[in-house]
Every structure is written in C-alpha cells, then in structure tokens.
C-alpha cells in the first residue's frame, strides 16, 4: 500500500534502545517493542542495549537481511544525535538511508519525564507508533550532490579569524579575510603582553 511504488508489502523493523539506563531506567523498552509488534506493517520489533553501538548497528543490519525489512524505525535518542549514524547503518545493509525514521524516546521522553514512568511509557509507545506511521510512507531518496567553490571567507580579523585564515591558506585554499576595522588584529592587538607566557600580542 504505501511502498516505493505503491504496491510493495510493508516490512518495518522497530529497534527500541535502552541507552543503558537512560531510557531503560524509566521505561521498559521490551514493552515498547512488544507494542510496536502489533502495529500494521511491523514484522519485527525488538529491544537493544545500545542501538548506536556496533552491536546495535550490526543487529539492525543483520535483521534487515534476515527479515527482509524495507523500513527501519529506531526508537532511541534525538535525530540531532544519531540520525546520520542509523542512516549510514541501514545504508550499509543495502536499504536506502531515507527509509529509516527515528522516535526520540530519550531527550524528549524518559529524560523529560523521569518522575512519571507510566506517562513516559505511554508517550514512548505513541512516539514509536508515530515513527512507524511515518516510516510506512517514506520513499527512497538520493542525496543531492552540489559542486564546491574552493575558496573560503573568514569574517573577523581577530586572533581566531587570523588563525583560521592562515590554516586555510596553508591548506592551499584561497581565503578572503574580512575585517570591518581599518586593521586586522582585533582585541588581541590592543593588548600589551599575553599570559601565561608574557609574549607580545602582535
């Protein structure tokens, strides 16, 4: 129904992370996995101690093949933390990286509701179901490749900017160092000697 071409059978795998005690200290990841198993399209759901560790990633990769998964849901931490990790993992198992969806049950669940384990469990189930629902409609996508202009700009000619510009220059990259004052040097140039070596600032 909701596959790449509208006809492929959905085979979603759900991996619920313990994150040591970060998640498992508040809720039971097994309960979330068992719940996920009842959702339409889910053919495999299990918990894992650390989804991001080699063991967790290997489990996902191996089961993509074993269960012929065509969508993966990882219920773990924030997408800002590990979305790229799990995209890479599913991709290594031959699945398009955009067929992976995360449910944030750590930062936005167990860490925020540490004193409300019941509410946290209910929320973790809903967030996982929401990720499963999105996964059902994911389509494979290709990263877009853009050309790169091999020049850099550094805005600010103080000690940090000068250091960046010199290093870029040394890498052979043409660098424009922009400074709004008439001279570079920034605050550093105004200083007498600098600690702890007491050398001249300029």
């Amino acid at each position: 129904m909701a596959g790449d071409n509208g006809h492929e059978e959905l085979r979603i795998g759900v991996y619920v992370c313990h994150c040591g005690s970060n998640i498992a200290g508040v809720i039971d990841p097994k309960a979330v996995a068992e719940y996920a198993m009842t959702l339409p399209g889910v053919v495999r759901a299990t918990d894992t101690l650390y989804a991001c560790a080699d063991s967790g990633q290997n489990l996902i990769k191996q089961e993509i093949k074993e269960y012929k998964l065509n969508r993966v849901v990882v219920a773990a931490c924030s997408v800002r933390m590990h979305e790229l990790t799990f995209r890479a993992a599913v991709s290594e198992a031959g699945l398009n990286p955009f067929l992976m969806e995360m449910a944030n049950i750590r930062e936005q669940c167990t860490w925020a509701h540490g004193h409300d384990p019941e509410g946290a469990l209910e929320k973790a189930k809903d967030l996982t179901a929401s990720a499963v629902a999105k996964a059902a409609f994911l389509t494979p996508l290709q990263m877009m490749k853009v050309p790169v202009t091999k020049r850099a700009m550094v805005v600010g000619g103080g000690v940090a900017g000068i250091s960046a510009a010199l290093d870029l220059g040394a890498q052979g990259i043409e660098t424009i160092l922009v400074e709004k004052q008439p001279t570079i040097g920034g605050t550093m140039a105004q200083l007498n000697k600098t600690f702890p070596t007491m050398d001249c600032s300029i």
Partner: protein, 626 residues
Amino acid sequence: MVDAARHPKVDIRTYTEVERVDGYVGNFKVLLREKSRYVRADRCNGCGECARVCPIEVPNYFDMNLAPRKAAYVPMSQAVPLVYNIDLDACIHCYKCVEACGKLEAIDFSMKDKLVWEDVGAIIVATGFSHFDPSVMPEYGYGRYPNVITAIEMERLNNTAGPTAGNVIRPSDGTNPRRLAIINCVGSRDKHFNPWCSNFCCMYGIKNAVLLKQTYPDMDITIYYMDIRTPSKGYEEFYDRAREMGIRFIQGRPSMITEDPETRNLFVHSEDVTLGRVIEREYDMVMLNQAAVPQPDVDTTSSVLNVTQSPGGWFMEYHPKLRPIDSPNDGVFLAGACQGVKDIPASVAQGSAAASRAGRILHSDQWEIEPIVAVVWEDRCVSAQGKKCGICAKACPYGAIEYEQGKAAHVVTAKCHGCGGCVAECPHNAITQMHFTDAQILAQLHALLAERPEEKILAFRCHWCSYGGADLAGVSHFEYSSNERGLRVMCSARMDADFIYEAFRLGAGAVLYSGCHPQDCNYITGQRLGAARAERLMKAFEKMEMTPGRFRVEWISAAEGDKYARVINEMQAVLNSIPKEKLMEEIERLRPEMEKRARRLREVPQVEEALEYSRQLEIAMVGEEA
C-alpha cells in the same frame, strides 16, 4: 598579523563589511561593502606624511579614546595593512594631506564604497566580542571618578605603543599610582548584567598585576575576586608566581567605591571573606576587569550570516559537545569569542579547528546535501491550467520557484533549502516536500492522537530551534507534562493550517505551534511565513470561541529548554482548568468546522492511503471501536 598579510593565499579586506549572504554550502555568494578609505591602497606606502600635516585630532578608538589620532590616520603604527584612512566625518577638507602625499597621489576624495560579490564554498565567523561598559554600575564610579579605569584602558596605558608610551599614569594628575586595586567580575557573574563567567579575566587581572609589578616593583597591587579560576595549562602556576611577587588577593566583591575629591584617591569598600568582615582600603587607582559581552551588532551579524544565538547573544554551535565548531547552517563555522567567551589560546585553537572543518568541504569536489526539497505536482498546479496564482513563488525565501502563468510552477532544486513554506502556502495542495510529505505528517498526527486525544498536547516543532529546545529540556531534566506529543518539521513555515485543523478535528486537547525566533530562522524568512499563518489561525480560533490557550504559538530557541518545559506545563494547566465535559463539548462543537477547513487535505496524493493506514494503526493501538 604580518603572517596573514604575507600569505599568498590570504586576501585581507579591511574596512569591509558583509552585507548579504546568499547560496548554500559549497556555493555561497557574499556581498561585501568595501568602505571608502579615501586613500588608494595600491598607492599608499604608509609613510604617514598625510597624518603629520593633518590639523584635526579626534579620539582614537584603538586607544580606547585615551589618545587622539588625526583625521588622516592608521589606528596603530603596526596596522595591517599599513594603509592610511581619511575619516571624512572629522575632515575639514583643507587638503593639506593631498599636498603632503605629493607625487604618490594616493589620496582620492572621490572614492566611493565598493560593493563586490565573492563566491566562496565555506564561511568562518570569527567576529569576536566587546567589553561591558561599567558606567552603568554607579557604585563603581566609572566615568565619574577619573582614576577608575577599565582593564582594556589599562592595556593601552601599560603598552609601549600606547598613548603614554607605557607610562602608567593617573588620568586625574598624570602621576604614577602607588596603590592599585583590580576588581574582577565587573558585570560578569552578576545576574543584574551578565550571568556568565567571562573566562579570561582572572588570568588577565593577574597578568596586568604581574606586568605592573615588574615595571613598578614598589606598586602595591590588590586583586578583589569572587573565585580565582585558573584551570588551563600553566595558569595556576602563573597565579602562584603572582602571589610570590607580593600581589595581594582579597576574596570579596566590592560594594562601593568612593572618592576623596581633593586627592582623587579612591576608597574601595568590600567584604573580606577570609577575615569575615567588611574592609575599606585606599587606592590611587582602580582597574575594573569588565565582562566580555557580545558585539553590539550581533543581531545584524546573526541575520546576515544566518547563524543563531545562544542566550546572552553568543553564536550557537550545532551541538555543544559533538559539533562545537559547526553552526547549524551547513558550511558556516564558528571560531573565537563570538561563539562564547574564550581566551587567546582557545581562540587560536578554535580558529584552526574551524579551518579544518571548512577544509572537509573545500577539499571535496562535490558536497552532499539532504534532498528534502519541494516538488510540484504539475497536474494539480492551477497555473498550468492558466489561472493566476504564484503564491508559492512569493512564499519562497530563496527565490527558488519559477512561476509563469500558464505553466506549472517549477522548483529550482539547487536553490531550494527545504523549509516547506511553499508546500504549506499552496492553496491547491499542489506542492509537496520530500521526506515531509502531507501523507507522512498526517500519518504521524493520527498516530499521536489515536488514544484519548483530548488529554494530549500536540506540539509542532521546527527542526532547528524548538525541537532542539525540547531536546535541551530533556538533557537538562526540566520535567514537563508527559501528555505532550511532538511532531517535527523542518521549519514553522511547513506547519500547514490544515494540520492544525486536522489535529483539532481529531480532538486534540491543545496544539502548540512553535519554531525559531525570527532572527534565528534557518530559512531567512521562513519563520515569518509561519508566524503570519499562526496569527491567522489564532484569529480564526478566537472567532470560533475556542478556549484561549488550547492553541498556542511560541518561538523557542534550541537554547531555551526551560522555556519549552514551561510552555508545555502552562498548556497542561490550561487543559486541567477546563472541566472534561466542557472540553469534550467544545471539541464536538468545533469538529464540523475543523472538518470543513481540513477537507482539502484529503485531495492530496497519498493522503487517502495515509488515512487508511491510520485507521488500521488506530485499530491496532486502541481496538476496533476506533
């Protein structure tokens, strides 16, 4: 400094400001304003004849206005590049400089500001910091008592290249002070002004004390401190050395400085924590170690360079531990104190780190970006049917949509940054966003509201800010109601009114519409599009007499975890305050109107399938009765 000037690959543009940045990672276009110096850099040899003959004197910013410069000037003799400037605001057009310059003919009063576009693949932001102005603290008398000076003024006085050639004198009478007090944490670690520790001031105060002690061995120097913080390599040893040199350290934050109007000497009133009593000591001079604060134009820099701010006005890194150099804007990196106060060794290190991060991109022939772009369903676009529209093109902050009546709108993929504004604005649901399609979002929405929706707070969050804020609430363990159910899109611009209507149709207790603060938006004006829509929604719900607070609009940055938690808890309090029967009655009363308003969503490709899937999901979640 001279290394940079000498480096064949480094092109220094001083007296130049960034006006505008377009483009994206690997392909930025930056508009620079090279301000007119009225001296031609290619002809000036830095001889300084123009300054010698110039009759006008104005205060020199570089010397903290303690000394004058001419209207024809360089800020300091070691300026890089050594090119003179004519300050036209001060100039009286006597043209003596032109005469003095003679055959070089470097001075050119007809020069105009030059606007230049530069193509670059990566940008490093290293705009630094500014100094807290202690004159807003009347208890220390800065600006009123001549012998109370700031640390950076001391730097200029105690500098052989400075206005007194390194002779440290009292501004009141030109004598050398015998007794000097240095006060730390002026405007820092002070909730009235800046809560942060300014990082380098402990070492900086000690450094000045040591330097002065070396030049003036008889000078009696006292440092007033709250805590001495010397954690880096060699710093504690330096502090030991200062104590061995006889510099006095008093733990206590001075409450007041008074002045003897005759001698202009100063009395510092303070607690001495070690002695456990209040003390008063007389000094000839007081140096205030003032806080480091963001640059005064930080908001402009933020919006021009598209970098967001942490609390206090420092530029925000993508992740404080894992990606401390990257800004949230791909291809833009942060270095030095603009990202947060740091000393010279840390600034140099961060500069190098930023060069290395930028190098990853600049040494690649191609860079990959996420394909979460907008796509037009040509058969649904009314323009293709000859009707006038173009709403999508107006909504796009990047000018990425080509619209011509009679043809379907076309998204130029390379220009599209994926905010989803056009998708939400299109009145005919003729555009979708990859990875954030209507069907995907709708399926999520239904799952989140499958069970007891009236108890739920559905929170729409943008990826860059409010999702980050919710993350930070969790990281900081700021607890909030577990009835919250979050749904992430890339920008508030993507939060289609239809989704909000659909959420209420499904019986959501409350809906939060949240995103970045306007100046933080990762998509230039995406937030404004979202904000305007949210305002229209708010008005519509007021008209429908929805209980105030059930729909809430909040702009929450990734640094505002506390705010995210507070907003959710306040929304929970609103829900708690409505009796259940009344809430259910209101939900039922509004349902037909919500249904009417959300009906067009059902025309969108794949949405019927999403609804069918959601029905099965709901059965799985709550049983057949759903």
